[in-house]
């Protein structure tokens, strides 16, 4: 009986190709829209997360000054010292690594090319904390740091500006008034909503203090980079860090902090949830388009209901049972919906692959959204294709035949 209904349904579809096409169209546009939007939205979320994780996971940065905005000025507030960094590493549990950082904007010269660059002096552990990896040459190590060797590694932007396409490793550049050997080129990180990370020169803190800047307040550092161990709650860590620093800086109860802690995980979470919100928004838009597709299907079904009611009347009159007629309509609706759904999934796959490359986000095939979109569209198609038939099949044959 099912096979029979299937044969009748296929025959009926092939006789009304325009109606079938319009029904399929409504479904496959809806399916394609929702899959494409959600997949691309998730790709964008992944891309943002990947860029943020390039900043360094679980990274806390301790800086002088009360915070961002109007009070951000660090003028008059005491700098940190290398001793601060050592003590943080010794006294606070859950910390993976601590690196003192001193930054200075200095002129850098290679042959006839000159530019101002941010030069960072720090310890070798800084690379690990900030997830810097070397593309060519090597990073500086503990030996370089102890000896205060005049060596540096440079970011990709500095390399482009100073060296063009030339290999920078082994070359000597001038930082301020000091000659310095480039020993490594860093792997590019790109823009991450926080300026160009690759516009940087990193050298041993000892060398920066003694050779480049000179003796003045040589033990001051401008910030401290801290990485937390995996699974450690950064909130608790920040609280502990804050009370330790207040103590070391002799702040009274009624005095505000004259330093601040910058947490990349918070930034990552904020940006992550923003892009997730965007994905949800896209999904909502797509759901609306799916609904519009569904209404299109309903429209076609209702327009053809007069003709189809008469058809049902004829089938009943020549001896079909109501159940057989309904089964035929169900098979028709399911067939059209499934064809629409499959075509929609194929179209979405092509669209996602193409658009993901165009807007440069990763393309991950998301099985879940494909299944959900397919089931939803098929449900809409079956509901709207089947419901009008149900009423007609319950009529007396003569009433169905006389339907105007």
């Amino acid at each position: 009986m099912i096979w029979n209904a299937f044969a009748i349904a296929v025959r009926e579809i092939s006789r009304n190709l325009t109606r079938a096409f319009l029904t399929v169209l409504g479904i496959f546009i809806g399916v394609a829209a929702i899959i494409t939007m959600v997949t691309l939205g998730q790709g964008a979320t992944l891309a943002v997360k990947a860029q943020i994780s390039n900043l360094g996971n679980n990274l806390l940065t301790l800086r002088p000054g009360a915070g961002f905005g109007a009070r951000a000025s660090s003028a008059g507030t005491p700098h940190f010292t290398e001793k601060d960094a050592t003590i943080i590493g010794e006294q606070i549990a859950g910390i993976a690594a601590v690196a003192p950082v001193r930054s200075a904007l200095l002129s850098t010269i290679y042959r006839q090319n000159a530019r101002s660059s941010t030069v960072t002096g720090t310890t070798p552990v800084y690379f690990e904390i900030n997830k810097w990896r070397v593309a060519e040459g090597r990073l500086f190590n503990e030996v370089d740091f102890r000896s205060g060797a005049a060596v540096c590694v440079i970011g990709n932007t500095v390399r482009t500006e100073l060296f063009g396409s030339e290999n920078p490793v082994g070359a000597q550049i001038r930082i301020g008034k000091t000659a310095c050997v480039v020993i490594g080129l860093l792997v590019a990180k790109g823009q991450a909503g926080m300026g160009d990370q690759d516009d940087t020169i990193i050298m041993p803190l000892s060398a920066l203090q003694r050779r480049v800047i000179g003796k003045t307040s040589s033990h001051d550092i401008s910030q401290i980079s801290i990485s937390a161990q995996d699974g450690v709650d950064s909130e608790a860590l920040i609280t502990e860090l804050t009370s330790l620093m207040r103590q070391r800086r002799n702040l009274q109860r009624n005095q505000d902090n004259n330093f601040n802690v910058f947490d990349t995980r918070q930034i990552a979470e904020t940006l992550g949830s923003t892009t997730q919100l965007m994905t949800l928004l896209l999904a909502a838009v797509a759901a609306v388009s799916l609904m519009v597709g569904g209404i299109g299907i309903m429209n076609i079904m209702l327009v053809s209901v007069t003709e189809r009611t008469r058809e049902i009347g004829i089938r009943l009159a020549i001896g079909a049972t109501g159940g057989e007629v309904l089964l035929q309509f169900l098979v028709e609706a399911v067939t059209l919906s499934c064809v629409g759904g499959v075509v929609g999934i194929l179209l979405a796959f092509g669209l996602c692959a193409g658009l993901a490359r165009l807007i440069q986000v990763p393309f991950n095939f998301n099985l879940q959204i494909n299944v959900v979109a397919f089931l939803f569209a098929a449900g809409v198609g079956v509901l709207f294709g089947y419901t009008p038939a149900r009423r007609a099949a319950r009529l007396n044959p003569i009433d169905a035949l006389r339907h105007e």
Binding site: R15, N16, R315, A317, I318, G319, G322, P397, I398, L401
Partner: protein, 234 residues
Amino acid sequence: MNPPANETLIELRNLTKTYGEGDAAFQALKGIDLTIQRGEFVALMGPSGSGKSTLMNVLGCLDTLTTGTYQYQGIAVETLTTDERSLLRRYALGFIFQGFNLLARTSSLDNVELPLLYRGVSRRDRHERAVAALTSVGLPTKLHSTPAELSGGQQQRVAIARAIVTEPSTLFADEPTGNLDSATTRDIMELLTRLNQDRGITVLMVTHDDHVAATARRTVLIKDGQIESDLVRA
């Protein structure tokens, strides 16, 4: 072949049909008693709104009766479920309508095969029997034409082929020539007479045309939902 005498096919006792409820109720049939033997050719006549079409629809199980009894070949039709009435139509009854009621955009062959499809007849048998039925109504060359490509008379022939392809015991015809010109009407009536006489199919035909009714041996006149006269020609 002559119809076997005195075999009761249809027996109605005090049959009524009421449309609507309460004040809006309208009684279309007001107590019909009627007996039809197998092999008869009966014309149901009467003015518009007399209830003749309603009677035929109830007899053909296209509509339900309100009270009374209806025996078809000894089966108490008033006790049947909707599906059982469908099966009775499928295996025993054939229909011809004034408006033909063929499936649009569907070839003559497919239209005629349709009742066989519901009977579960195999593909090859369906084809053979449909071709034979269409040949017997004089349309062997129009197997693949759709209704839109056929004249009114040809469409009615396809409808007759569809009705007789299952070899029903009774053929119900509701104003079968109502939409046709007089020459075509004569052809269709000849065809119905032949089916009645050669194959022994009982024919029940609603008409308001005296010439058409004259084809039938028996004429039942309905007026205001009741039988006014019941005449059998000698």
